[in-house]
Every structure is written in structure tokens, then in C-alpha cells.
Symmetry: none
């Protein structure tokens, strides 16, 4: 399956419209372009998914007890927060005030491909974040283990 890769910065116009980078559009599953956005629980940024991928998230949630606090917290954080957004035929989507607020977006939005998902950042904040991520990978010596389980 296609992946979201690389980063691009696009303008947000006065109507709150941003062009979803063309390569990102291409990795979305169908033509009837839709994206699921929500506010990242750990960063001041937005996260975007192919609607298809939400199914996988749902499957993962099944690993929790249906009535556990954790399951409830996660489900609320994920599905409750999810905002489906449509992409028009010039490739743009509209970001609500609320979403823009969470990510401190004003005039520019940096789209960052993260494989299965992508993130939307204020350009300045992402620079910091990127450096932080690099540092963490280095200092914690993070690698991608080959095998299955990693807990």
C-alpha cells in the first residue's frame, strides 16, 4: 500500500483552504477523496489518515477490554475527535478554526508524511519537532526491529 512520505509546506488562504500535496492525494485510496483529521493527542499538530486506515485503528482497539478505562479513553480520543474532511477537485480541503487553533496554524501548513499517516504542522513548530525527533532517534538509539512483537 502507498505511503505518505516527505514534507511540503503549502499556503492556507483566507477561506481556510489548503492544498493537500499532490503525492499525498495520490496515496489516498479512492477518487472520492476524503481524509480523516484529528488533533494529535501528543503534539500541537493535526493527524491525517486515509479513511481506510481507520478500520485498522478500530481493529487495534479490539485488543483492549471493551469496558476498560483505557479502551474508553482511546476510543474517545480517536473516534470522538475524528473529523472527516472532503478534498475538492482542485485538491484542497478546508480546515476549521478549531483544527487550526490546535496546531497554531495561520498562513502556512507543513505536511509531513509518516508512512501510514501524515501530520500537519505550523512550519516553525515543525522545525523544532523534526530536530527533536532526530535527536531522540540518535540518543535512544532507536531502530526498527525486524521481528514481530515489540512491547
Amino acid at each position: 500500500m502507498a505511503l505518505f512520505l516527505s514534507k511540503t509546506t503549502n499556503k492556507i488562504d483566507q477561506k481556510g483552504r489548503v492544498s493537500l500535496p499532490a503525492p499525498f492525494r495520490a496515496t489516498l485510496s479512492q477518487a472520492g477523496a476524503r481524509v480523516i483529521l484529528f488533533r494529535s493527542p501528543i503534539h500541537n499538530c493535526l493527524e491525517g489518515f486515509d479513511p481506510q486506515f481507520m478500520e485498522d485503528m478500530s481493529a487495534r482497539l479490539d485488543n483492549f477490554d471493551l469496558f476498560s478505562q483505557d479502551q474508553d479513553d482511546l476510543a474517545t480520543a480517536i473516534f470522538g475527535e475524528a473529523v472527516p474532511v472532503s478534498v475538492d477537485d482542485t485538491g484542497r480541503m478546508v480546515l476549521s478554526e478549531d483544527l487550526m487553533g490546535h496546531a497554531n496554524l495561520s498562513n502556512n501548513a507543513t505536511f509531513v508524511g509518516l508512512g501510514q499517516k501524515f501530520q500537519i504542522w505550523s512550519p516553525v513548530e515543525f522545525d523544532k519537532r523534526q530536530q527533536e525527533a532526530r535527536d531522540n532517534v540518535k540518543s535512544k538509539n532507536l531502530t526498527l526491529p525486524k521481528g514481530g512483537a515489540h512491547e
Copy 2:
């Protein structure tokens, strides 16, 4: 599996186009020729991978929790920094200003096969690098360990 071997130097034209050496093209997985480029974190050069390699990385990332700090750091460092590039039917790809800057590229690019990946260097800097690598192997008495794991 096919490996990237040997080194070649090709011209970069005014549009930023370079021919990917034909042998390298041949080792890429499919016909819909694509390459993933990275800014090397340790050298002033670019690193190139078969897109298949990224798929493998993605599969490994699935072993991490979706919202864990580590997952996010890795994804940002790996997928966020990856630049997918397409190879046209005359075998050329386009290098962005940004990428060329990182590797100090201007008119020529030296492609160096490194097995699973290849590197793109400014010819002058690669000469230095090659000498350095030889010296390191000699002075540190570096050898190739036998088994798979190498910690």
C-alpha cells in the same frame, strides 16, 4: 536480491536532472521506476533506496504502538525525511535545490553503489570520503562479521 554496485559520475543539467546509472535502474524492483532519497545524517551526501525498502520499514513500524513517542520519533525521522523521486523513461530523475544543497552538488554527481543502498556525492568530496574510508578500514582493522546480527 539485486545490489547496487560500482560507481559512476553523471552530469546534472540546468533543470536538476541526472541520469540514474543504467545498472542501478536495473536493480530497482519494478518498472514504475521510483527511488527514495535521503539526506545522509552523517555525510554531505544523499542516500538512495528502492521503494520496496520503505515498505519493509513501514511494516516494522507497525510493531510499535500507534501513538507512542518512539513510533512518532522514528516515523518523523524516517518517513518525514524521505523524498520519493520518479525516474523518467530516459532514466533520469530530478534533484530539488534542497537535496542538491545538502550534498554540495552542482554540475556533476557521483553515484556509489553500497549494496542495499547507493549514495550520491559531489565528485570532489567523494574522493576525500573514499580515502577516509580506506584509512579507517586499515587503521581500525575493520572486518565483515560473519552472522546476521551485528550489535
